[in-house]
């Protein structure tokens, strides 16, 4: 571990303060990590061990992948996983494309209609349309029970738009001028100058979109029939509300899924986030703050 140098004027910390700090930090880390450990362990334990233990297991004595095998047998969870992955990938790409092009247009001075469009967009932040009108709109557009209803109504996020716009504006004007002199048009400037310089901001905004799509369940519960549900909505129904798990192949409702299976679904819903998190984590502070300060 590297200790950064303490400035000369600062007194040496007292042992008691040090201990209190260490305790507080350990508490933070444990409070976040222990629940996850319990979930993962329970999903890996045998059903018998979970019952013996009264509902949960901190460390499985004989780890088994039975619960995961049950889930990936082609039932409802496998299907939901596919839906979630598809909506997340397609939604993130579409959202990024629309946000980038709009943010770029709004970041350049002198674009026709730039100012009114910016005000139009910022106003929606102050006054969201409301749940009932949005629901009726989706219904009247005929989007009910289509995956488009999970993506189109939330296509562009104002906060993400402002983050990107701020980032684009921070690129030195000279670079734009140089590209112009070389005869590059708007698209060419965007693709070969702006985007390569904006990797950090794109990573952060892309992550925010991907997490939002992956975590979304409310729109699915509003707009989709249960055989189209993404993973989070399945999780909500079978784990949070404790309903029986229906086998998609036979169509028979079985009894409430065993604890191990419920926890395995939870793990599957969390893992993608844990996987992308370390790669993008270094960009957070930078990306979030450029947005927060500029707006």
């Amino acid at each position: 571990m590297s200790a950064s140098a303490r400035p000369g004027w600062m007194e040496k910390p007292r042992p008691l303060t040090q201990a209190a700090k260490a305790l507080a930090l350990a508490a933070v880390v444990l409070l976040v990590c222990v629940p996850f450990l319990v979930i993962v362990s329970t999903s890996l334990a045998s059903t018998q061990e979970v019952v013996d233990n009264g509902g949960w297991v901190l460390w499985p004595s004989e780890p088994t992948l039975d619960a995961y095998r049950d889930i990936f047998d082609g039932g409802i969870v496998t299907h939901a996983l596919g839906v979630s992955a598809g909506v997340t990938i397609v939604g993130t790409l579409l959202s990024l494309a629309c946000t980038v092009s709009l943010a770029y247009a709004l970041s350049r001075p002198g674009v026709f209609g730039g100012r009114p469009v910016l005000l139009l967009v910022l106003f929606t932040f102050l006054f969201p349309p409301g749940m009932i009108p949005s629901f009726l709109l989706v219904k009247e557009l005929g989007l009910l029970d289509s995956y488009a209803s999970l993506v189109l109504p939330v296509l562009v996020n104002v906060f993400n738009l402002v983050v990107l716009r701020g980032f684009f504006q921070s690129i030195p004007e000279e670079l734009y001028e140089a590209a112009r002199l070389d005869g590059a048009g708007d698209w060419r400037v965007l693709v070969s100058v702006v985007l390569p310089l904006s990797k950090a901001a794109l990573a952060v905004v892309g992550l925010f979109y991907a997490v939002a799509y992956w975590n979304s369940w409310f729109y699915a519960s509003l707009y989709l029939e249960s055989d189209h549900w993404p993973l989070q909505q399945v999780l909500r129904t079978y784990v949070v509300s404790g309903a029986g798990l229906t086998d998609a192949t036979t169509g028979e409702a079985t009894v409430t899924a065993p604890q191990t299976v419920q926890m395995a679904v939870l793990v599957i819903a969390t893992v993608p986030i844990l996987l992308v998190y370390p790669f993008l984590q270094k960009y957070f502070t930078k990306g979030v703050l450029t947005g927060a300060i500029k707006s």
Partner: protein, 284 residues
């Protein structure tokens, strides 16, 4: 630019115009525009509805509890992290603390059920030690501390980002000068650190006040069944149950519009107050 603008026009302004339903009696067969007008009837019904006012009170009460109990936590955590001289420990704790922000409410609620539920970690431990078990999930009396604890668990770490950024901008020389003048750690904290981050604190408090009518819709909806509407109904869930579940679209839209208008006025007013106090505010 066009797809983005088209999106805002259709899904924000199109839907915003759909608020006319608040002045109509929605008949599915006639659609949004063909349904008959009822004038302010929906609003009259709403103002006379005790359940609506209950949801308003619950919303305000939970928002106040969060302001009092949630708000200081990220500030304290940021101050603690800021004093760490070991940068690798600091980065590790930050990474761990940010993480829950990216976990969905469904998973957060499921996690809390696992730890605090009837057969969860806590109660198994208590009964294993021969003690009484405590009913936390599903107990209306415990609901408010529970939802505040969930918000702290999920977002306190994430909330430190903005404080840490403010702390990072404090001039090192001020600390040094104060130390040379004989100010101990506490005096330095009081006279250098706090004044430096005051604008951020004021700004965040004001933003929360402006947002006071929106407390965790997904969080409440997920747990409303466990404790019942008397405790967990907020304005957003009221709108949801009246409109989407109950099919009384005009009435629910009226409640939603009420929330939208009051919310916008609050943000506007909060921003005015921020300017009066000489702070930057959310916008100019």
């Amino acid at each position: 630019m066009l797809p983005g603008v088209a999106y805002f026009l259709l899904f924000h302004y199109g839907a915003l115009a759909g608020n006319v339903i608040a002045f109509k009696e929605y008949v599915p067969f006639d659609g949004l525009w063909g349904s008959p007008w009822v004038g302010p009837g929906n609003f009259q019904r709403m103002f006379e509805d005790a359940a609506f006012w209950d949801s308003v009170l619950n919303t305000l009460w939970i928002a106040v509890l969060q302001l009092v109990f949630y708000f200081p936590v990220p500030l304290g955590l940021a101050l603690l992290l800021h004093t760490l001289t070991w940068s690798s420990v600091r980065r590790f704790v930050q990474s761990v603390a940010y993480l829950p922000h990216f976990i969905s409410w469904v998973i957060v609620v499921a996690l809390f059920q696992q730890v605090l539920g009837d057969t969860g970690l806590l109660n198994s431990g208590l009964s294993g030690a021969g003690l009484h078990t405590v009913d936390i999930i599903g107990n209306p009396d415990a609901f408010e501390p529970l939802v505040v604890a969930q918000v702290i668990w999920k977002d306190a770490g994430w909330g430190t980002i903005i404080f840490l950024a403010a702390l990072a901008q404090v001039d090192e020389q001020q600390y040094e000068a104060a130390a040379i003048d004989g100010a101990g750690p506490w005096r330095r904290f009081w006279h250098v650190t706090l004044p430096a981050i005051r604008p951020v604190i004021v700004l965040l408090i004001i933003m929360r006040l402006g947002d006071i009518l929106s407390v965790g819709f997904e969080q409440m909806l997920l747990q409303r069944d466990a404790v019942g509407p008397q405790t967990a109904e907020v304005i957003d869930t009221f709108v949801y149950y009246q409109g989407i579940v109950g099919g009384d679209y005009g009435f629910a839209a009226a409640a939603g519009l009420f929330k939208g208008v009051v919310g916008a006025l609050l943000v506007y007013a909060a921003n005015k107050v921020a300017h009066r106090l000489g702070e930057q505010g959310v916008y100019k």
